[in-house]
Symmetry: C2
Subunit: 425 residues, 2 copies
């Protein structure tokens, strides 16, 4: 039986979940994987926490050299999050020939090439299944299950916090602010929710997943990012009337060798399998040229789901005789498409007067924006404006932006563009 020594850097929520799985399942892994996985060192300042987990003080320290210099440790799992000291410690470990396992999407999306280089130097492996979509083995699906395919596109709900908030707004009609507070109360959102609600977390993940899927580097600087803090309940409701559900989507496409990647709120048709993904669940819909559409669905966060991905990576790493070889082309401007095609949902405050809709339609038409659906609402207030909702056909982002600028600046019939939300297909 192969024996594998593991170090855990940090035993907070996910690190603790990982420790528990490794402890509880040691015999199970011997039996089912022919593998004896032993936690040999834990880097953690908080001794209350390590003692609560039942970890002997003998294997706890704050010195990374206790890990690097231990020849029996071949796999290092990192749970610090953020860039430093994770980056420095993991590079040290890789150069010393130890494979790394991590859920650190920020580090990985920002420093993958550097980590790759250190891995090459030490002939060690990089495993980061847990960095994207928690327990759902989306990375292994791409690298070991869909290799036959050129992956053409990816659409995902890959942030549980925002999906919880949007589901709550949609089901209960509460405002963004109230839904956020509720999510914070339940522990689904952090006190400072920026990483989630402004789309950073989803941006890190779609950068990693797109890089793997297209075999081309998709750095975060190439990912268009728009958060959900400005979403209004009334747009969720108008969307419902039109047969749409609002989600924070991560989308990427690889069309004729040009990649586009983006994170933003988007309406999806109610019959899109992503529309039914509720609460803190995540899902990713992939399209491969041979397999067609394929969807993975599951828990995107949490100590045990993410621990599941971490431990599965440990086992995968331990059973490989050679590190996994990610073949990724570096990219330039040429590889990206920044002016993407999309349908758009517009909510305009329009002065309630004859001829105004014709004016709007004219401005849109001149800018190559063609109208697919219109809803005009009656207004009971005394502002003399009415909301008009327009869903466009597929339109270039640059064209819709030009049309909007013209509507607002050059016309006195449109008082305001209250919402511009993309519509996924």
């Amino acid at each position: 039986m192969k024996k594998v020594g593991v170090a855990l850097l940090g035993v907070g929520t996910v690190g603790g979940g990982t420790y528990n799985i490794l402890k509880q399942k040691r015999e199970y892994f011997k039996k089912t994987q022919n593998l004896d996985v032993e936690v040999m060192h834990v880097l953690e300042r908080n001794l209350d926490r390590t003692r609560e987990l039942g970890i002997s003080d003998d294997i706890v320290s704050c010195d990374i050299d206790n890990v690097i210099n231990n020849k029996d440790i071949s796999i290092v799992c990192e749970f610090f999050g953020g860039i430093e000291p994770a980056r420095t410690f993991l590079i040290k470990a890789l150069e010393a020939g130890k494979s790394i396992v991590t859920a650190n999407k920020e580090l990985f999306s920002k420093h993958w090439p550097e980590l790759q280089e250190a891995a090459k130097k030490g002939n060690a492996g990089l495993y980061f299944e847990a960095s994207c979509v928690g327990g759902v083995p989306i990375i292994r699906t791409i690298t070991e299950g869909l290799q036959a395919n050129e992956i053409k596109s990816m659409q995902g709900i890959i942030n549980g916090t925002t999906n919880y908030i949007l589901s709550n707004m949609s089901d209960s009609g509460v405002s963004y602010e109230d839904a956020l507070k509720e999510a914070q109360r339940l522990g689904y959102a952090e006190a400072n929710p920026t990483a989630d609600v402004d789309g950073f977390d989803a941006m890190y993940k779609i950068s990693i997943l797109s890089t793997l899927a297209y075999h081309k580097r998709v750095p975060i600087s190439r990912v268009y990012r728009e958060g959900m803090t400005n979403i209004k309940s009334e747009d969720i409701n108008y969307g419902k009337e039109l047969g749409y559900t609002l989600k924070l989507l991560a989308i990427s496409k690889n069309i004729d060798g040009k990649i586009e990647a983006r994170v933003h709120p988007a309406f999806v048709k109610n019959n899109n399998p992503l529309a039914t993904v509720k609460g803190s669940f995540n899902a990713v819909l992939l399209n491969g040229d041979s397999v067609g559409d394929i969807m993975l669905y599951g828990r995107g966060a949490g100590d045990f789901p993410t621990g599941s991905a971490i431990v599965s990576d440990i086992i995968y790493a331990a059973q490989r005789t050679e590190p996994y070889n990610y073949i990724i082309e570096e990219t330039t401007d040429e590889d990206f498409n920044n002016d993407f095609f999309c349908r758009y949902y517009l909510r305009l405050s329009v002065v309630d007067a004859a001829g105004n809709f014709a004016t709007i339609a004219d401005v849109l038409g001149k800018n190559n924006v063609s109208i697919r659906q219109v809803v005009q609402k009656h207004s009971d207030d005394d502002t003399n404006t009415v909301p008009i909702i327009i869903v466009t056909h597929e339109t270039k982002e640059s064209d819709i932006q030009k049309a909007i600028a013209e509507l607002v600046e050059k016309n006195n019939c449109v008082m305001n563009v209250d919402a511009l939300i993309r519509v996924a297909q």
Copy 2:
């Protein structure tokens, strides 16, 4: 770059799809996988077919020894289906040290131990991702993505033909016979549909998937199997009224070390993610003790989706330095639970007279069957019987069978048990 020689045994629908993917993507695999995959021999009688695919006559024959004796061929892909000659040919190939890739669920579910032994003898690998759920990498998900988990249960729509028929019956209200004819016309069902509609295909697949998931042999003889040929439109409609969708489900569970596995029609609640799986799509919902619920969804059949799984297996096999080692415990009676717990939907023809419902409730109660929901319909015909629909709480299969026997034999109030359909949870 690693060079890999492949033989294709048969180039029908899936074999032809595989050939096309390998041919069209040869450069792509060199670039993205650092692998040069070449088809070096094709076993096929039908020269019209091989010529149509553009395969040179030089590498086509009907003699397996042309494959076995070719030292440059390291992977043999089989597309014959059925037991012979696939079994004999693949055992020969394995013993000669060639890894095999196959979509043959019947062969694999019936002869896995024998193939495993031949593989061990030749130090060759067994790869059969394509045997279950077409292009969806469900096997790799279990073996390389969820190793950290003890998988507790599996529920799947793993036969596209029956799902197409049931979706059509449900959406259009047509009878089973008409839906079958339509499926046959469109090529979703075969002229002899037995393998699909009687549940054999799903039984082979759930046997393979359960064996992998639980690391214990689940032979087909242990899978309870009931087809869908007796399903009536009216039960689909009554189910709808109760908030259920009817599916042909493959279910297996591993509870306290006891396994149960079954294939039968089952109602699923409309909010179960499986309820929305329509047409010829497939989906599998797994529950792991760490990851929780996870679902995979995609095309379960077709030349390109299945070809995707075959070619992904070829790449996976070619990149391994050692064959994948399936660790599976052999099983005895002790490992299985045959008297499963389930909710049941019953449709009874009951004589329309006072006190009859009380009699029925009494018989059910005495047999430990407790009622969860009842719908009594008014009948306009002159038979003096009315349909009563009962959904039970969780009940032992043996108890419901006893109750039914008693209702029919010993009572003159129940004229007939028109339907007994399990309700999944």
